[in-house]
Point group: none
């Protein structure tokens, strides 16, 4: 592998990023935060005016399935975790990346059921998959004993999000920032909005050292 790419962190399942890249992402998120904040404010304002004018339209929770507008209904056979559910799941997974016991599964299921249809099997499967996939990541660096470099192509299986674009003929997409992620716990919408309070000045999520990076 070449040099410029920081994407391969030695096959250890970790990525390294520079300050520049961090900064870039930070700004990116800051921008989002700011924009969201402004949009929220604007909308509140506009809504207020509308309501005042007596032309209040939709009800808060009346037109939920906006997506139904796009005839995407009636075909989903398999369960798809909703964002809220995903967050809960991820959160729990972080706490203990062991498969929850039977009772625990029930609990979780009940909790998740408040955010949408779900079954215990779904939860069970999710944890199985989650665990299996994250585990793959930690192997990989054990293919051979006498390996000279712990680099080259020692990705594991399908848990890598490789971004092999360097040698692509056409455009080399930006080598940076493309796949930079920080450690951050699951952030709900509330949190996001909460963080909007201090837009450009703080990037709380990834600064947390107390948070276990390995989950």
């Amino acid at each position: 592998m070449e040099e410029g790419n920081f994407q391969n962190g030695g096959g250890l399942g970790v990525k390294v990023m520079t300050d520049e890249q961090m900064e870039m992402l930070r700004k990116q998120i800051a921008v989002y935060a700011t924009i969201c904040e402004q949009l929220v404010e604007m909308h509140k304002d506009l809504s207020a005016q509308q309501e005042f004018a007596g032309m209040r339209l939709g009800n808060p929770y009346c037109d939920p399935l906006l997506s139904s507008a796009v005839h995407k209904i009636g075909s989903r056979q398999r369960w798809t975790p909703k964002p809220a559910q995903l967050q809960i799941l991820e959160q729990i997974f972080e706490q203990c990346n062991a498969t929850p016991g039977r009772q625990k599964i029930k609990d979780i299921t009940r909790e998740l059921a408040q955010h949408g249809q779900i079954s215990e099997t779904n939860v069970y499967n999710w944890f199985q998959n989650r665990r299996a996939r994250s585990k793959r990541k930690q192997s990989a660096v054990v293919p051979n004993n006498g390996e000279s470099e712990m680099e080259t192509e020692n990705e594991s299986f399908r848990e890598k999000k490789t971004r092999p674009e360097d040698s692509q003929p056409d455009e080399n997409t930006t080598p940076l920032a493309d796949q930079m992620y920080f450690n951050s716990p699951d952030i709900g919408f509330d949190q996001l909005v909460g963080k909007m309070e201090s837009p450009g000045s703080c990037i709380p999520y990834w600064q947390m050292e107390q948070y276990d990076l390995l989950g």
Copy 2:
């Protein structure tokens, strides 16, 4: 644990994170982008109706920064096999139309790497897809003799132990639903904002914990 910041100590100013975390952050950012997008749509809609209000302070959704940021992170590139690679892959596939084992994948990857950037995941995916595709093709050709309603081949097997039903369109289908990218049509702003303003409806334990950690 050690990954936390040890890289930082080197004065290099870099952080290390796992793939999991990277993926998670990526999703989070994507969600963020989605939220912005939805807010923007809502705002546009409202603005159209409230045109008399005038454009008080400019429209954030016109900000090029937004789009650039969104596109930067919200999109990922996908690997495209080069002709040479494809040839090898096809060749191997002919020999054994079974999914190669881990070691085999590594070999193949190494081989293909000489013709361009590639990862084991790419190879793995390719075989998976290849197999699935050719399988489906076959069953399509040999559907059934009786011209009665064959329910499109093997759908009957879908009936297993669990069946959480389709995702119900209504209820708490969130705007940032299935996919993290903005494909959703219009969304009720109230619903969107409701997520952050209605603690009573859905504020699981984890959010509080999270908040603590974050704050």
